[in-house]
Each structure stands twice: as structure tokens, then as C-alpha cells.
């Protein structure tokens, strides 16, 4: 919503995966729910819904963001990239390929969050970062299958490729 007064269900615009979307949403709606239930983009997962697991990570204006703790109206006008759109980004494409190649997926629930978060980090910090730092900065993403060894291999591989 805009201006000083809340109407409770105002219109807003978002650019999601390259497409301009105009929607109406209650003021209290979370970006996670807008993406999954209003726009049908189920790739973004709901994990803990309290910021602790990273499964709901999306890019907002290029920055990794916990969509479960973000009000949709707070990012009105922004560019949002979910896992469905991450392959349009050359870095995102490479991250996806590395995850597939290294089998960095077990049940797959955490994968969209990891792929989006890693793409965001590589884009934000540039490839100059040592892989250990990238792994440290991925600490907000949990894999309950504990497939971390493969995720680490994929991360190191992308780091080498992009570097």
C-alpha cells in the first residue's frame, strides 16, 4: 500500500521472474504466500516459517531475502527472482547445473533455497570470494537430509567455474 493510510487490501506491482505482475494483497501477507498461493510459484518452499532454515529464500532486487519474514507490500515495485526464474541468470544457470551434476539434492526441499541463496552470493560478492567464505555465508540454509557434502562440492565447483 502507499501513502499514510492502510486500506487493508491494496494493489501493488512486482516484477517476478521477468514478468510484471499487478496484484491485490492484504497488508499482512508475506511474500512467501504471495508467491506460492497468489502467483502459483510453488518452487519457493515453506520450511520453518521463522527465518531459521532458508528454504523460502528468494532474490529481491538481487539480494537474498527470507520471503517468510517479508511483507509483500514492503517490497512493492521490486524485482523478485524465485527458483523458477533463476536459470534465466547466467550465474543461476551454472549453480543449477552444478547442483545437478554433483547430486547436491536428496529430498530436494531445501534445494531452491540453496540455489537462490548461492546465486545471490555469487552475484553480490563477485567470484573473488574464497569458497570457505561462500560456505560460511550459506550457513542460513539448512538441509535436513544432511546432504551437505554434495552441496559443498557443488558450491566449490561453481566457485571455480565462475572465478
Amino acid at each position: 500500500m502507499t501513502g499514510g493510510e492502510g486500506t487493508g487490501n491494496a494493489a501493488l506491482a512486482l516484477t517476478v521472474n521477468g514478468r510484471r505482475r499487478r496484484i491485490r494483497a492484504p497488508d499482512a501477507e508475506r511474500l512467501l504466500d504471495t508467491l506460492r498461493w497468489r502467483l502459483g510459484l510453488k518452487g519457493t518452499k515453506e520450511g520453518c516459517r521463522s527465518g531459521g532454515c532458508g528454504a523460502c529464500t528468494v532474490l529481491v532486487d538481487g539480494r537474498s531475502t527470507l520471503s517468510c519474514l517479508t511483507l509483500t507490500h514492503e517490497v512493492a515495485g521490486a524485482t523478485v527472482t524465485t527458483v523458477e526464474g533463476i536459470g534465466r541468470d547466467p550465474v543461476g544457470r551454472r549453480v543449477q547445473a552444478a547442483f545437478a551434476r554433483e547430486n547436491a539434492v536428496q529430498c530436494g526441499y531445501c534445494t531452491p533455497g540453496f540455489v537462490v541463496a548461492l546465486t545471490g552470493l555469487l552475484r553480490e560478492r563477485g567470484p573473488k570470494l574464497p569458497p570457505e567464505r561462500l560456505l560460511e555465508d550459506l550457513g542460513g540454509n539448512l538441509c535436513r537430509c544432511t546432504g551437505y557434502a554434495a552441496i559443498r562440492r557443488a558450491t566449490e565447483a561453481v566457485c571455480r567455474e565462475v572465478g
Binding site: G3, G51, G54, T65, L66, L69, L71, E74, G139
Partner: protein, 277 residues
């Protein structure tokens, strides 16, 4: 759960919206990483959130010898300032301790201070750096030393409608912040130890988080450290004094006895980090 959202364009408008609301009726929204969870858990039930997202406080400025951190600057932007790791290593480490990268893209220092959590990772280092807080409210602006703002968990001495606009710390100061927790990311610190060294006496400022309802400085430990380069004995005495002072809490994260050991160990390490080049 249902609330409406107002997005004021000026600090004056935000203050007015908050001050005019009935008690508990409106809450300021910065990154929302504490507030939205508090709402989900039913700890607060505001009917209206006042977004601070459009206020001109997403700033970072150096002026004179000060670093002025805008209250709504995402912590990630502070962390990525190229001079921070060298000029204020303790603050850099503390900011990186907060949650995760994605969390820090939204979480702010103003929210962390206003929330005044016992286990905040920012309060100990801000206390050690002798931070001052700039507020704006219904009766105008004021500036306070941080300890005068902190009252208890989730409690500050702000008056209704008063907002944190900026935090002021020295632009450079040798400093360290060390924490201990079960998981490195996205976990709450069991203990946080912050130290900072001033150029002139009194040289040392030492503060603890995670051990009391409100993070605080340790003046008895600061008094032991009376040289800019304390020797092994002074460091040891300081560590023992820190572990001995006022009762620490026991909670699900750690026992009091474990916290005492952590405080002594982390303080030793933090002091060495600052004194040994």
C-alpha cells in the same frame, strides 16, 4: 494476525502515526525479523504497523571521528562497507554474527536495539564502543548514551512514538567480539564478549551479552585493565573477575556455570586479539 500497514514518507509522519495510536495499537516495522515473529507467536498484537522502509535512514556516514549508522540501514550494507573490518573489527564480527546473509539483507540495527534482547549480538559491542543513540519523537530529537536507553528485555526508555534514527560510534577503534553458540549461523549466542580499546585512559571497555536480562559493561573488569597493553597476569585477573561478577542466567541454552567458563575464555581471547597485532 491481521494488521494494516502504513508507509510514512517522513520521520515526522512516522512519529505522529505511532504517537497517535492507542498503547499497543501500532508498532514500528523495520526489517520485521523480530517483529513478524513476535506477531506470529502472539507476543504482540498491533492493529497497525508503521513501516520505516521509506524514511531517509538507510545511511552510513563518517563525520569527524564518528561513524553514523542510520537506524534502518540493512545490517548487510554495514557489513559490506569496505572499511568496517579494519576500522571496527569488533563491530564487523558482531554484525556478521546476526542470523544469516538473507536475514541481514533486511534486519537493522535500530530494530536490534529497540528489541533489546538479552542475547543480542550487537548490544555488547555497541556498549563497548560507547555508542550513542539518536532519537526522534513527539517532543523533538535527543541523543542518549546507549545504556540509558536499555531497560530490560524488549524494554527501552523510549517515550511513545519515539524512534531510533541513528547510532553513533567512533569511526575507528581496536575492538573484538567473540561469541559461542551451538550452531554458527542462525542460532542465538549463549554468551557474547565485546572489548574495545580507547586511545587514552580509561583504555578498556568490556561488555557481555547473553548472561543478564540486559547486556552491560563490566566496570570492575575495565578497572583491572589499566594499560593499553595488559600483560598475561592482568588478562588472567580480568578473565577471572569477569567470570565472578553478578549472577548469570541459566536457561535452555546454557547453565550459569558453563556461561562463566565461556566468559573467561572468550574474554582472554578477545583481549589478545586486540593487543597482539
Amino acid at each position: 494476525m491481521a494488521f494494516s500497514l502504513a508507509v510514512p514518507r517522513s520521520p515526522a509522519e512516522a512519529v505522529r502515526l505511532l504517537a497517535d495510536a492507542p498503547p499497543g495499537g501500532a508498532e514500528a516495522l523495520a526489517g520485521g525479523t523480530d517483529l513478524l515473529l513476535d506477531i506470529d507467536a502472539g507476543r504482540v498484537a498491533p492493529s497497525r504497523l508503521i513501516s520505516l522502509g521509506r524514511l531517509p535512514w538507510r545511511t552510513l556516514r563518517r563525520s569527524g571521528g564518528d561513524l553514523v549508522i542510520g537506524a534502518t540501514l540493512p545490517l548487510r550494507d554495514l557489513e559490506r562497507d569496505p572499511r568496517l573490518p579494519r576500522d571496527l573489527p569488533g563491530l564487523y564480527r558482531a554484525v556478521r554474527a546476526v542470523g544469516s546473509v538473507a536475514l541481514r539483507h533486511r534486519a537493522t540495527m535500530g530494530g536490534n536495539i529497540a528489541r533489546s534482547s538479552p542475547s543480542s549480538d550487537l548490544l555488547p559491542i555497541l556498549l563497548a564502543l560507547e555508542a550513542r543513540v539518536r532519537l526522534v519523537g513527539p517532543s523533538g530529537p535527543r541523543e542518549l548514551p546507549l545504556p540509558e536507553l536499555l531497560k530490560g528485555p524488549r524494554e527501552t526508555t523510549r517515550v511513545p512514538g519515539e524512534l531510533i534514527a541513528a547510532i553513533v560510534v567512533p569511526a575507528r577503534r581496536p575492538s573484538a567480539y567473540l561469541w559461542q553458540r551451538v550452531r554458527p549461523s542462525n542460532d542465538i549466542s549463549q554468551v557474547g564478549v565485546a572489548v574495545a580499546r580507547r586511545e587514552r585512559p580509561p583504555y578498556w571497555r568490556v561488555a557481555l551479552g547473553g548472561v543478564w536480562p540486559v547486556p552491560a559493561r563490566l566496570s570492575s573488569v575495565e578497572a583491572i585493565l589499566d594499560s593499553p597493553d595488559p600483560g598475561d597476569i592482568a588478562v588472567e585477573l580480568a578473565a577471572q573477575e569477569a567470570a565472578r561478577c553478578a549472577p548469570f542466567v541459566t536457561d535452555k541454552r546454557a547453565t550459569e556455570a558453563y556461561r562463566r567458563r565461556l566468559v573467561a575464555t572468550l574474554l582472554r581471547r578477545a583481549l589478545r586479539e586486540v593487543t597482539v597485532p
